[in-house]
Amino acid sequence: MRDDEILTGAILEDSCLTLDQLAGACAVSPDWVRVHVEEGLLMNQDGDGNGEWRFTRRELWRARHLHRLERDFDASPELAALVADLLEELESLRARLQRAGLR
């Protein structure tokens, strides 16, 4: 590859990550993801019609936070999910403030 070559990628649509891609992006095992989905701590789309799970970037954000909270504080998955819920709420309120030009 030449140094001045410009690479063109494909934009991934929402709800696009597979279970393995999500696990890879968060440095967790696919089992970690499976357990969190089954426990209802990490929501997922119904899939692509073939029964395969697909994850949005929203869930990638959530999975990274859950993993960090569990790792850094030895938090139970339920407690980490509670903190992630609050962080999501905080994020959406901050976005509303930003849209209103207040921050």
Binding site: D3, D4, E5, I6, L7, T8, G9, A10, I11, L12, C16, Q21, G24, A25, C26, A27, R57, H65, R71, D72, F73, L87, L90, A95, Q98, R99, G101
Partner: protein, 315 residues
Amino acid sequence: MDFKDYYQTLGVARDATAEDIKKAFRKLARKYHPDVSKEADAEARMKDVNEAYAVLSDSEKRAAYDQLGQGHHPGQDFRPPPDWQPDFRAPPGRGYSQAETADFSDFFAELFGRTGGARAPGPDFQARGQDQHAEVLIDLEDAFNGAARQISLRVPKLDDKGRIALDSRTLNVKIPKGVREGQMIRLAGQGGAGFGDAPAGDLLLEIHFKPHPRFRIDGRDLYLTLPVAPWEAALGGVVPVDLPDGGQLKVRIPEGAQNGRQLRVRGKGIPSDPPGDLLLDLRVVLPAAETPRARELYETMARELAFDPRAETGV
């Protein structure tokens, strides 16, 4: 390369127990957690704290670090001995993603990043390379006009002795027009190298916008505060608005518009498919009554307009 004192970073003694180290780490993690911390340099501090903890919480790494670091002081120039080849079974940072460990200091990379969990696999071993993740910061203008961005990455790569080395590389990546906050661009085959004849992984780039001085961004839509004169609001008028693509838009202010009213200009947001909207928040700005003439005009209005702004509020 500067020597890093991981004990100092965590604020513990060199003979601290594993429990002390964990406690000190959690205290700092709470203080510098990037989501909630009010400290200005929280993100950088958290990175240091994570790096120190990745080493000191792992007994093998801690022992190697203690042995190498004897007699060294923070900031002092440091070179690992030429025969330094630790044989760790654990990956470079247990529980830390590749993106996180790649972000650790050169000191860490030199000591621990060169060796991985995957020791030179046998000749028949084949596995697809790992996907890599990185973030790209772009300007709003880039989403309007498209752009090429240069990004620097540190990717693990097998060296000729079959060990994993961190390799720096720079890529030129096309930012397509219409891209939105949080979207991912997939560059097939640009991730970690595969083993054997297996293909390389993908590189997934996450798009984030730098804050814009004028526009606020929400998905496809743009928000802009548009200052207008009282007569533009009262009588209506046409006001020019500069767009991020360098073009200009003429916006009609409806007669009788009040402060805070929102106007929606369809299709003038981020040019994705379908394009977003531009939302204009009107802000009526009053001229100062600084000159005798300006005072006279305000006095005329006060005298001749039967206007009570508090009529409906009951104040």
